[in-house]
């Protein structure tokens, strides 16, 4: 992967079959939901060991939790008949339990039926309502709207309304293995796993996917996002299915996993944010949520079981990092992180992303002012984290072609072993984290934030993190000379790391150190009311918000750069 970005127009890719699976899936939505509900039911029955008492307990727990959720934490997006449905479940349960003259077989059937009703409802809730025409319209709107905004800011005069001098690709640079991704997406099934820092990520990735000429990916978006109308519109258009984090009961989680696994087996490209939620600390995810990731491995095994041994049944994991100078939600994210990890008194700030108005305002700012974003596409891997070549074949560390199917083989045949697949999932998780760090792209703003924070930390060695964050402003001053020489040292080390293939850098880091610092200071957290880092009138470097500085500093965590200080 090179550091430099090449602006490129990508033609839409056509699938080898006459239709994209994602389009087909929406056509057969009903059948698919049935399939998922049925398979989820079987899964849960397996979990309970086909023991009726265990199943009854599981159903009762689910009912109790759902009742609590409806009472304590209702959301706008919740269906109107929520209460009705669960009351229905309750009365059927009560009836079954109290009827003493029913045979065991009849009882068993009764419980199975209740379970099936629940998984069907969940599958309906989760299922995406992707519509192709809708998708195309959104895509056009995003591209058109954004490029108007861009050109209005940069090209002067009335003509700006029609200028196409700047496109979104100048603003959001896509770098990395784009050709490999495009190529493999027409042959196999892609599971894209991006880092997650901001709610904007899903829109950004959606745009990236369509810019690269690929069909829409399905992805699990937090149901809370559908509370915000502007997001709801985009998400429904981009093939999102809904993940409700309030529901932590077994039937829901299993239905969700089944949905994902079956969709991948169906050939739909998928997108997981493997960190689960946005990174609260600003660090690149180091511990991943393995639940959804395991469905990729399960789907791969299922494909092999069906005898799909060629590339059409192969699943490719593609890590992606999104690199920002600025994360809109940074203040609330870091507050949450600190109150979770530390002694700091918890106080909740309002979520900066809570209204459509605020988001639109941000978008206007973003497109009319500076601050670029880049999206780095990593090398495709198989589900065990081995790189794949241009034919989609997995390679071991010495470049030897290996058969991914062999990972599931025991005694010459494919065997199902959940514990084994759990181990594989955690191995894959580790590989993804490794790749995140490699394809991550260092910006000037990351460099200045990291260096400034480390200098301050080093000056106050005896303080723990939380005391450090509470230091009065007059103690948070760095002379320019010190700052620039330290920035230079860190930059040197970053370039060494780059030469070892451990990280990437943005081209603007190749200029002289004064310009880099200037660029970095201008961009780091540029739209925050209190800036994480600025230069005062006497030329010294100061911070207005130490917690924010910490947040932006964390982006370079995990490279051992702190050892330079």
């Amino acid at each position: 992967m090179t550091d430099d970005y090449i602006k490129h127009k990508y033609d839409p890719i056509l699938h080898q079959k006459d239709e994209w699976p994602v389009v087909k899936l929406s056509k057969y939505r009903k059948e698919f939901i049935k399939l998922v509900a049925e398979a989820s039911k079987e899964r849960i029955l397996n979990f309970t060991g086909h023991n009726v008492d265990l199943l009854r307990e599981e159903l009762e727990t689910t009912l109790y939790r759902e009742k609590m959720r409806i009472k304590q934490n209702p959301w706008v997006v919740d269906p109107d008949d929520d209460n009705e449905f669960w009351s229905g479940v309750k009365s059927s349960l009560v009836q079954l339990t109290s009827e003493s003259n029913l045979s065991t077989e009849a009882k068993r059937e009764g419980y199975h039926k209740i379970l099936y009703n629940i998984t069907t409802r969940y599958a309906e809730e989760i299922a995406s309502s992707f519509k192709h025409s809708h998708y195309k319209a959104t895509r056009r709107m995003v591209t058109f709207g954004f490029s108007r905004l861009l050109n209005a800011a940069r090209v002067k005069g009335f003509k700006s309304l029609f200028s196409n001098q700047y496109t979104l690709q100048d603003k959001i640079q896509i770098i990395g293995e784009t050709d490999q991704l495009r190529d493999l997406s027409s042959k196999g099934t892609i599971v894209m796993v991006p880092t997650h820092f901001s709610n904007l990520d899903s829109i950004l990735i959606g745009w990236t996917i369509s810019t690269l000429g690929m069909p829409p990916y399905i992805y699990g978006a937090g149901l809370n996002l559908f509370n915000i109308q502007i997001f709801s519109y985009f998400m429904n258009a981009l093939g999102a299915y809904k993940v409700d984090r309030r529901k932590k009961n077994l039937p829901y989680i299993e239905t969700l996993k089944t949905y994902s696994s079956k969709a991948i087996q169906f050939g739909c490209h998928s997108l997981f944010f493997p960190g689960g939620t946005r990174s609260r600390s600003g660090k690149i995810e180091s511990k991943l949520k393995l639940g959804l990731l395991s469905t990729a491995i399960e789907a791969q095994r299922a494909n092999y079981q069906k005898g799909m041994n060629d590339i059409s049944g192969k699943i490719f994991i593609v890590p992606v990092t999104i690199n920002y100078h600025f994360v809109l939600e940074a203040p609330s994210l870091i507050q949450e992180h600190l109150s979770l990890t530390g002694q700091e008194r918890y106080y909740k700030e309002s979520d900066e992303f809570s209204t459509s108005y605020k988001i639109s305002k941000f978008l206007v700012k973003f497109f009319t002012k500076g601050s670029d974003i880049s999206v780095s596409i990593g090398n495709a891997m198989d589900i065990l984290g081995n790189y794949v070549d241009e034919n989609g074949s997995s390679l071991d560390r010495h470049g030897r072609v290996i058969d991914t199917r062999d990972y599931f083989v025991s005694n010459n045949k494919i065997s199902v072993d959940n514990q084994r697949e759990e181990e594989y999932t955690s191995m894959l998780g580790k590989r993804i984290v490794e790749e995140f760090h490699k394809i991550n792209r260092v910006f000037s703003s990351h460099l200045v934030a990291f260096t400034a924070f480390e200098i301050l930390k080093n000056k106050n060695k005896k303080l723990d993190l939380f005391s450090l964050l509470r230091l009065p402003e007059e103690d948070l001053v760095i002379s320019y000379e010190l700052f620039s020489s330290e920035c230079e040292r860190v930059r040197q080390r970053i370039f060494e790391l780059r030469d070892e293939g451990k990280v990437h850098v943005a081209p603007h880091l190749k200029t002289d150190i004064d310009s880099i610092i200037k660029h970095g200071l201008q961009n780091v957290g540029m739209y925050h009311a209190r800036r994480p880092l600025i230069q005062n009138t006497s030329g010294e470097i100061i911070t207005e918000d130490m917690s924010l500085l910490y947040f932006y500093h964390n982006r370079l965590d995990g490279y051992d750069l702190e050892k330079l200080f």
């Binding site: 058969d403 062999d406 990972y407 083989v409």
Partner: protein
Amino acid sequence: MAMTSKNFSKKKPVGVIGIGSFGTAIANILAEKSHVIVYARKPEVVEEINLHHTSNGKSLHEDIEATNSPEYICQQCEILFPVVSSAGFREVMQQFAPYLHPYHMLIHGTKGLSLLLPKGKTLETVDKIKRENIATMSEIIQNETVVVRIGCLAGPNLAKELLKKQPAATVIASKYNEVILEGQRLLRSDRFQVYGNQDIIGVELSGVLKNIIAIAAGALAGMGLGENAKGLLISRGMVELIYLGKALGGSTKSFIGLAGIGDLVATCSSNLSRNYTVGYRLANGESLDQIIADMDEVAEGINTVMLIKTFVENAGMRAPITENLYKVLFEGFKVEEALGYLMKYPFNVDVDFL
């Protein structure tokens, strides 16, 4: 034993890589239930096994077949037991790598560590070693091959007693249940009990670190000291083992299990152990070079002491037994001096790891 009583009707043969004394013992146990193929590098060893059913004079089960082709053994067997010394382990794995596939299972029985240094560095020239520079054998397998279903074998398994068919038990450790189950299926018998453990690193480290204490035990015996001293050593040795083992990524539970305390007691009490012998002869005034010169197989403990001492120095930890043993082994210290130092060492808490 008649062929019909064995249940390898459909099962593939089982492989053993390396045929030292432990390899021989394991191959014989495996051969009670399965067809076994052993890999030996030297053609004359292969010939000895195939023609005379002996290896280095020790008798081997009749159904054990030998080969010196890594390709053949990898093709025939899905499960392989590498039992070669830690010094040669990496090389053997590199040699096998082209023929291994992700469906293979490797269960090793090597109780040693290997150094992973940057190119051009040796233990003498490198200034410090960190955890990432030390590899257990399972980590070597992971680094050099595509095999993921990896396990290890550890416990009080003195080869000479196993060869005499005395009762014993072992631990198979692996992150994969299927590896543990396969290992149990292949090895378990009326006189060989097989336990499972998920903490492979902890079990490997137990086997590795106990060798240090075994040398010390030999030295005490060589000085003519009695059971009080041995009791003291085993218990303090255990504390040091756990302390080091945790720093290297194992869990306390494994160290107090069969592979830890079980193996420690066995090796510290037996003059059948090579490591014990090294200590014993040191105490009798022989030099390390003399001792190494007339041993036919490596005492893993010597290498382990050197590695761990360097690691401890860098990590800012103290490991008094290892440090003093290092002085005796490599700096010409007398065993008496080292013991004197240990008796003065300010240990004051008996147990602080539970």
